[in-house]
């Protein structure tokens, strides 16, 4: 017995250490990929900065100044060194540095994703648990159908419909743009709620289905009967006994949806004209602004890896048995 507990603990530690070592390695790999892909793209940063009519000599001087002619490993090492010091370089198109641009865009995307996650998780919990408890009856079927529709509907189209309905037809919300929190909660909220809801919809739909399946599975288990059979009230059994087991799977799946949420954010920000990381990336690509594209990609990848790390640790906390398996 004693050794079971210790081995669980060392398993836990080993798992965490492994993830902590792995995370920077993944980031290094991602950085390299981003670097090479951007490097190989037909965009010529010299031309982007100097304009179409710059002559060859000007471009050569620019290249030499910015070290564009150095061998690839050297340039990559320099890039990594800069990134490690949070120096993401200059925008070749705009006057601001990439750091400044991301500093402006990043909080907006974080707000958008947090709000969307909050909306998605709350509604998925309520709908998923309700459906599971009503398994097979009409509320279950209605919720299941709605979830299937919203999961399949293209987000781009849903976004446009949303704007059409709430901004154009009813005039309840602005059709796009961003109002910072300093401008007042109502302005900020009405600028964020539309994109957040549209971003949340497919996520909420998917989570509802996962939670419904997982809770229904769990409710059918024998231990639920043990608790009910001992006279524990039903709602206590649901909250104290069932949910902790039933939410392990949805939390693991959460990690998968973080990636989808991020790519969804690019789309939704564009549709709602929200100046976040997605918009920054899209304009960066359009303008051939390599520094910006790289910066956004690196920061996005870092956030992705970090969020997944947190989700993994959360999963471990909920399900200590997996630590023993994972640590081996």
């Amino acid at each position: 017995m004693m050794h079971v507990r210790t081995s669980a603990r060392t398993g836990y530690v080993r798992f965490v250490v492994r993830r902590l070592v792995l995370a920077p390695l993944i980031l290094l790999g991602v950085s390299f990929t981003v670097f090479v892909v951007v490097d190989l793209s037909p965009n010529d940063p010299a031309r982007a900065v100097l304009g179409l009519f710059a002559d060859a000599e000007q471009r050569a001087r620019f290249a030499a100044e910015h070290g564009l002619n150095d061998p690839l490993p050297v340039r990559f090492a320099r890039f990594v060194g800069d990134v490690a010091q949070f120096r993401l370089g200059e925008s070749v198109v705009r006057p601001e540095s990439v750091n400044e641009l991301i500093g402006l865009a990043f909080p907006i995307t974080v707000q958008l994703m947090l709000l969307a996650t909050l909306i998605a998780v709350t509604s998925a919990l309520i709908l998923g648990i309700t459906a599971a408890q009503m398994e097979g009856r009409w509320p279950d079927r209605v919720i299941g159908t709605a979830a299937a529709i919203f999961q399949a509907a293209p987000q781009f189209w849903v976004g446009l419909m949303f704007i059409q309905l709430f901004a154009v037809t009813w005039g309840w919300l602005p059709s796009g743009g961003y109002a910072p929190p300093e401008s007042g909660f109502t302005y900020w909220f009405s600028s964020m709620i539309g994109p957040a809801v549209v971003l949340a919809l497919p996520f909420a739909a998917a989570m509802t289905r996962v939670i419904r399946a997982s809770v229904a599975d769990e409710l059918a288990k024998d231990y639920v009967r043990t608790a009910l059979g001992a006279g524990v009230p039903g709602h206590v059994v649901l909250i104290r006994n069932v949910l902790r087991n039933a939410l392990v799977t949805p939390i693991t799946v959460l990690g998968v949806y973080v990636g989808l949420l991020m790519s969804g954010a690019i789309l939704v920000e564009t549709v709602f004209n929200l100046p976040g990381m997605g918009t920054l990336l899209v304009t960066g690509v359009q303008q051939g602004d390599l520094g910006v594209v790289r910066g956004v990609a690196i920061v996005g990848a870092a956030a992705f890896v970090l969020i997944n790390l947190v989700v993994d640790l959360l999963y471990l906390l909920l399900n200590p048995r997996s630590a023993e398996v994972a640590g081996r």
Partner: protein
Amino acid sequence: MTVTTGSGTPWSVPADAATAPLLAVRELCVRFPRRYGDVAVLDRVDLTIDAGEVVAVVGESGCGKSLLGLAAADLLPRSAAVTGTVAFDGQDVRAMSRRERRQMRGAGIGVVYQDALTSLNPGMSAGAQLRQVCKLGSSSSPEELLASVGLEDTERIMRARPYQLSGGQRQRVLIAIALARDPQLVIADEPTTALDVTIQKHVVELLRSLQRSRNFALMFISHDLALVSELATRTAVMYAGQLVESGPTRDILARPRHPYTAGLLESSRSLDECWPTLASIPGSVRQPADFLAGCRFRDRCGNATERCAHRPVLEVDGTAGERYLACFHPVGTET
């Protein structure tokens, strides 16, 4: 315990006529319409248990013993369609209010389930699960309960998750949970099947001593007729969802009347070899979808005749006192 015919003859009233039996199951039918259509998986089962009495329910796997136990505490799955009545302490368990039902479950009836591993929550420590039930009202603390079911090192067990315990320890924890609210009736559903032989003995002894010290009524469900002889004063034998024979355990073991009981007994005596199927009865229990009309045992019975295509009714067996039998050609009678 008293047993009656399925056809409305009044069940024999216990000696103390003023008190109703603790548990009275009458004309109980359970169907699973989705799965088996109109087949009665439990078919007109009648069974009563008095306060403090130990009754065994015996039969092969698939005979409906667990369903009977669950029906008694109104714990059948939602897919089950139930007719007939189950009265606990004179009250219909299916007509109870939520509060009455919560009181009946746990404080009235405690259940020791068949599979201790799945019946405990893998995500909660044994202690947390026991504490949760004790909080609803108990004469003992969780630690005292664990000690009373023969568990030492209670501190460690309280903290352990079910998968960190041995099979025997899990079964004891489950017994502790069943006893936590001091129930008047304990339903023990094959509490020893998953355990190895020596531990089986300990658990049976434990149940017997607990029953004596706490004086609860016990419904002991088992597929092993030899095992129940140590425990139960009365025994009911089930086959394919029907009660086929019942009476004082000693009587039944000495002189089984139903061919199925006789076969069970024979195979139980040669059970040292631990045959999974009954050596002395060919075949096995049919799936509910294939239950025969008439006597459901007829395809395996050596005494079967054409008469057996009708359903034999459980009635008082004239040749002996307090015995009930559902068979046209019982063992030990010349026909």
